[in-house]
Amino acid sequence: MINEPDIVFRTKGLTKSYRSAAGEVQALRGVDFQAARGEFIVILGPSGSGKSTFLNIVGGLDTATSGEAWFKDHRLTALDARGLTQYRRDHVGFVFQFYNLVPSLTARENVALVTEIARNPMSPEAALALVGLTDRADHFPAQLSGGEQQRVAIARAIAKNPDVLLCDEPTGALDSATGIRVLEVLTEVNRRIGATTLVITHNAAIRDIADRVLRFADGRIVEETVNASRKAPADVSW
């Protein structure tokens, strides 16, 4: 059904509801979405609007209640746990607010963790060079600052040459200067390896560095803005 070669993601009527003792929570209420190869998309929206839920479903971490999600010609909503694991392994790079590095491995080893199981990886050194951390390669996470840890996480995410890079509040735990540095790395990586990049953020100022900005509210995409020209992260005012 997807024949446009440039379309990487496509969702249709995606919904997600959580059933609990307290009642049913509708996290997503029908999301229709498309993303093209190499696009840099920023996702904004109030807390609880379903941003993370959406990102997790297209990243293969979570399953939808109804609707469809496609990655190229893989129908994600039809995959079982094993299929989703394989999809994450082969195609997706994740960056999270809390880095989620392995504390017992050095920066280089954290990256190597992923390159060892990837089909077409770059070298851990090259990935660290991309995020500007060549000289900290042998440091453990506990010996790195927050921003440096996040850059290691980015290096780990991109080292497999992923088709998509999904970032959930990557700057959420960082001060503005460090945040800018991380965003620079993300845009740089997006440019270099051409990975479709989705970045969730609460910082509306970041919108200007994107090709496209989506605004979530109440489980839906309520606004979509296409930027004619992208700003450099350094030019964004926080």
């Binding site: 694991t85 392994r89 989620n100 017992s104 080893e109 735990a173």
Partner: protein
């Protein structure tokens, strides 16, 4: 009791950590149970024996003579320190039972004097004692009666001194002298082939031409009487009448076997419970250390709002004590249950009229106390560090675990994957816990190695004793020494293919101040049936002059080949001479000394006599042979090697399943306890990382492999350590079990190590599988939302 918030937390923690708590409780329970079982069985056995000896006026000293006049008894009674003495007739008779091909043996003992008033009193189980005037009545031992379904009123044909006599059984009885009733030449009691019959004195005297005479003395000594001196006096008095030397109660077969059993129980009490308590303390320490780390901030909070460190420590101690109480309760139940089982086993092997299994509350109290102590010690070591922290520091999150670069490049060069490096670094990050895990699993391996080796050792005993040393089919022992030509008569008996004579002479062998009473066996110069083996298992020829001693005897006397020993023969002439030790032989049963039969006869000065013959018998002629042997007046008793081995094996086979089940269960409890707790702790520490790896696209199997390889390292490193500890324990046990009665060869083959490892690895694998479920259920999204 007020349910304070801290108490409620204890209950909630227990509910949450129940599988880990249960695993610890089971290890504690195993310690309690083995302690109760061991101590309980020990005191049951020794109390029962003591009480039984006491109530039956059991003799302190025993002495055999060939034939002594009853007047000698007055001299014996006059020995200083002798409280009471009785003269008995003790003779071996042959049994001719329709249901048995081979002749059985019955030990005929004259009844205690004065009916129920004498020494070694019988305990009548059924029927009545024989009429003192009757020559046709007899009481038999209970085991024998049960094996042949004999009850009072039945008739038994006994060959006494070559004469068949039909005896009516008037009763069934037990005697303190035969608690462990071992037939002559046997290795295990076999109530089918060996029984004891008590007859009136006159009846026996008539059959064996012992009117006005006796063949055996029993003495009770005054409390504190010097037994060595009394024995010397008895020996002096009995020497002219063929006395072969008096023995103390301690050297009596029945008593000595009970002693051996007590010794094994004692060894068990000293080895097993401490292992379980050590492991339990380590588990408590591991688990609580992790719990305390997780609750560090809470502890800080409690301290900040004014709880004293004592109160907080008490909270964790209460948590551990609850587990300990559970373990103690399970241990009490299991110990009592296993104790009852062991008592049943004892009832089968040992003939007691009663069994005092006292359930002494002190044993239980001690077990509970020691166990709770071990658990609390483990707990206090775990909470000590946190309690020392000032509240402010405690409330702050702990500094991130510091990992070191150790071996990073080395591993990379070795081609280690990053996941392997994670495993290695995590193990090295907590060296004490890793070592505890290794030691715990190693102890579980060691318990198995130290118990399983005995089976191979028994096989070696059987192989050496029956297939390499005593190769005859049948040993025919004469009632008394016969001239050498009796060999030719034996050769003529039906079915006999080879006959080889032997001579047995009681003697005292001494070297310096070391002295042992042994039976010196005279063998042909090149024995073919009953042989002696050198330590390299080659058969030895008899030296022209000189003695070959068994390893045990040589050790006891501290002699080596070339040394001289003094040999005093205990038969009539009491000759004493100095002989060189020409060699040392292997042998596991008793103390052995052997020499050339001709040289032995010259040494005793008794002429060319033989005590019996070893025979090879054509299987087709076996039945005929037995009939002829039973009919021959010369026959004292007949030992059938095949039956002895079969009985030995059968008895062991009965116990082997029970023993293996118990030891495998004990080892599994440790292995499961250690591995399960270790993996739960490891998962608790690394759950977040493992979930992150799943997000990155690692499969469930790959993530589980990280944790499992940690367990694998522990289990693998534990194997050689466990083998080594088990080897040491086994060696010590072999030493502890060995006595003059028998020596336990310490043979331990690869099969023992392999079996022990297999059992422990299986237990480890099962507990790993239990944790696997938890790895599969790791919440991927949860870890993304929270900071550690």
């Amino acid at each position: 009791m007020v349910i304070t918030p801290l108490r409620r937390k204890v209950l909630r923690d227990l509910a949450r950590l129940w599988p880990q708590s249960l695993a610890i409780a089971l290890v504690l329970a195993a310690g309690v149970a083995t302690m109760i079982l061991g101590n309980g069985a020990y005191s049951a056995l020794s109390d029962t024996r003591a009480r039984y000896y006491d109530t039956s006026r059991f003799a302190d000293v025993f002495a055999d003579v060939t034939r002594a006049p009853r007047a000698l008894l007055d001299d014996v009674r006059a020995i200083d320190g002798v409280l009471a003495a009785e003269a008995r007739i003790v003779k071996l008779g042959l049994l001719d039972l329709p249901e048995m091909v081979e002749p059985g043996t019955i030990l005929l003992v004259s009844l205690p004097e004065g009916g129920g008033a004498g020494l070694n009193r019988l305990h009548l189980r059924q029927g009545r004692l024989p009429d003192p005037q009757s020559a046709r009545e007899m009481v038999v031992s209970e085991g024998f009666a049960t094996a042949h379904r004999l009850s009072p009123g039945a008739t038994l044909t006994v060959v006494m001194n070559g004469q068949r006599r039909d005896l009516m059984i008037t009763g069934i009885a037990l005697s303190p002298e035969f608690i462990y009733a071992l037939g002559p030449g046997e290795m295990m009691p076999d109530p089918r082939r060996f029984g004891i019959g008590w007859l009136p004195r006159e009846s026996l005297a008539g059959a064996y031409d012992l009117e006005g005479a006796f063949s055996n003395l029993v003495l009770v000594l005054a409390p504190g009487a010097p037994i060595e001196r009394v024995i010397a006096d008895v020996d002096r008095l009995t020497a002219p009448y063929g006395g072969t030397g008096a023995t103390a109660r301690a050297d009596l077969t029945s008593h000595a076997f009970l002693d051996a059993e007590l010794k094994q129980l004692g060894a068990m009490v000293h080895v097993l419970p401490p292992i379980f308590l050590l492991v339990a303390a380590m588990l408590v320490n591991m688990t609580l250390s992790r719990l305390v780390t997780l609750e560090r901030e809470q502890i800080g909070l409690f301290k900040a709002i004014g709880y004293a460190p004592r109160a907080i420590a008490q909270h964790y101690v209460e948590f551990v004590l609850t587990i300990a109480i559970l373990g103690i309760a399970i241990g009490f139940a299991a110990g009592a249950w296993m104790g009852a089982g062991l008592a049943r086993l004892y009832a089968r092997f040992f003939s007691f009229p009663f069994l005092v299994f006292s359930n002494d509350p002190r044993i239980y109290a001690l077990a509970a106390l020691v166990t709770a102590g071990a658990a609390v010690t483990g707990a206090l070591f775990a909470v000590r560090a946190v309690l020392a922290l000032p509240p402010a520091v405690a409330m702050a999150p702990p500094a991130p675990a510091e990992y070191r670069q150790q071996g990073g490049t080395l591993w990379r060069r070795l081609g280690f994957r990053q996941t392997r490096i994670m495993t290695a670094r995590h193990l090295m990050r907590w060296p004490m816990r890793t070592l505890s895990g290794i030691l715990g699993v190693a102890l579980s391996v060691a318990i198995l190695v130290a118990s399983l080796w005995s089976f191979g050792s028994i096989e070696r005993m059987i192989d050496i004793t029956f297939f390499r040393t005593e190769r005859q089919d049948v040993q025919m022992v004469f009632g008394q020494p016969e001239p050498l030509r009796a060999v030719f008569a034996a050769r003529q008996m039906p079915g006999v293919m080879v006959a080889e004579p032997f001579r047995a002479a009681a003697a005292q062998i001494s070297h310096r101040n070391l002295l042992r009473k042994v039976t010196v066996i005279g063998r042909p110069a090149e024995p073919r049936l009953s042989r002696v083996l050198a330590p390299d298992l080659r058969p030895m020829d008899m030296p022209e002059a000189g003695l070959i001693l068994s390893e045990t005897l040589a050790q006891v006397l501290e002699v080596r080949p070339g040394d001289n020993v003094t040999v005093t023969f205990l038969d009539g002439a009491r000759r004493s001479l100095t002989l060189p030790v020409s060699g040392v032989s292997v042998g596991y049963v008793g103390l052995g000394a052997t020499m050339d039969i001709g040289a032995l006869n010259r040494a005793t000065g008794g002429g060319q006599m033989i005590s019996g013959v070893n025979l090879l018998i054509d299987p087709a002629g076996l039945e005929e042979f037995f009939d002829a042997a039973a009919a021959s007046p010369k026959t004292g008793f007949i030992a059938v090697m095949g039956l002895t081995v079969a009985r030995f094996r059968a008895t062991l086979a009965e116990n082997i399943t029970v023993m293996i089940t118990v030891y495998v269960a004990l080892a599994a409890i440790i292995a499961v306890g250690v591995i399960y707790n270790f993996s739960r702790i490891s998962l608790s520490e690394q759950g977040r990382e493992l979930a992150s790896l799943r997000v990155l696209g690692f499969t469930r199997a790959e993530v589980a492999a990280i944790l499992f390889s940690e367990l694998a390292v522990i289990v693998l490193l534990a194997q050689p350590l466990g083998w080594a500890i088990g080897f040491g324990m086994g060696l010590a046990m072999a030493g502890a079990f060995s006595s003059d009665l028998y020596r336990v060869p310490f043979v331990i083959g690869p099969a023992v190590y392999a079996t022990a490892s297999l059992v422990v690895c299986t237990a480890a694998a099962l507990s790993a599988l239990a944790v696997r479920q938890r790895i599969n259920r790791l919440d991927l999204i949860e870890v993304l939302k929270t900071r550690e």
